[in-house]
Symmetry: C2
Subunit: 210 residues, 2 copies
């Protein structure tokens, strides 16, 4: 291979690498489109809209009243416009729904870590956002308008739910939020009122709040 | 560029791609090295040894006795030999440690989903493993042998912890497990005794249990 051909070849390899990096770069850009950390309410809504699963906690009477966390999928709306209300699709074959029907006290805990925007920061480092929404876990009445909303929100983000066995008696639940605990930087939890949370403004993309 | 040079060049690009794929392939192989799903105890130990963070749940007196989940980092030992006991490094500046000092009832919830081995399966699908260890969250006495174990386990998997501010009074905690809830396939939770859990066998790699 002559020098000129070698240079051409290196050029091709570089082009290939740049192409790969640019694809990854765009993904990174998309992921990084998170609100300014000083806007706590927007950060909270962003975490809820971007995560597809979390840990839903209830009081377990079977386990001596212990707090029982369970991995669940959730959705607060369509990908381009969440409502901030987390909806769930649960069966009483699982302890969480059974617990909630006896005692509605509950919390949903989510992390920024699985979104991939914390980089190499430790998941417990305050600069990697974490949030707990505490409130009441309630069954949504069948055939209500809210049940339709929950179904659309969940089945859009979790398509396989539409095919889950009917005889398992899945029901739609919502978390009626009473308290918001958010840490997304040093200096302790950020105070957020329900009003601030539910009225955080959408940015131009619709999906991400600022 | 002549045909021969072109062929050489294509060869180089192909080599580059093969190299990249093999690196990814090895990572995939490592991730997929999970125990047979019928070995519930080994699966439980694998989940604990492979996850670096989870949701630690306590009873919040500040929030009317609600179950309060919090994102935390944990470790059950060195990467090549976990003990099955989850250790934590917590400060009472955070509600979880404060709650535990008043009421030790607690659970740790982890998922296979962030490990990347569930593929496109929904995080709530029973074939994507999820586990809740329920028990008592206890402070480990300072300068004890267990404190040394916890420190080594945590600081090895979470190196930045060694530099966390001393005036935040971080303490080592352990979860004294009383109940194991594991779902890793259809058909409901798998019964696992503490004895089965703590005596699950290491495979030849040391890190992964079978």
């Amino acid at each position: 291979m002559g020098i000129k051909s070698f240079v051409n070849c290196v050029y091709l390899v570089v082009l290939f690498v740049v192409f790969q990096s640019s694809v990854e770069g765009r993904l990174l850009l998309l992921k990084n489109n998170k609100p300014d950390r000083n806007n706590a309410a927007a950060t909270a809504r962003w975490l809820v809209s971007q995560n597809s699963w979390g840990v839903l906690n209830t009081i377990s009477l079977d386990l001596g009243g212990a707090p029982f966390g369970n991995v669940v999928s959730f959705s607060d709306g369509l990908p381009d416009g969440g409502s901030g209300v987390p909806y769930f699709y649960l069966t009483t074959l699982d302890p969480t729904a059974r617990n909630a029907l006896k005692d509605q006290r509950s919390s949903l805990t989510i992390s920024e870590y699985p979104l991939g925007t914390c980089g190499k920061t430790d998941p417990e480092n305050p600069s990697c956002a974490k949030m707990t929404l505490t409130g009441k876990l309630k069954v949504i009445p069948e055939k209500s308008k809210e049940a339709e909303l929950a179904k659309k929100a969940l089945f859009t983000k979790h398509p396989e739910m539409a095919g889950w066995p009917q005889n398992h008696n899945f029901q739609f639940f919502s978390l009626e939020i009473e308290d918001i605990f958010l840490i997304n930087w040093f200096g302790g939890p950020k105070p957020i009122t329900l009003d601030q949370y539910f009225h955080a403004k959408l940015n131009k993309m619709g999906a991400i709040f600022e």
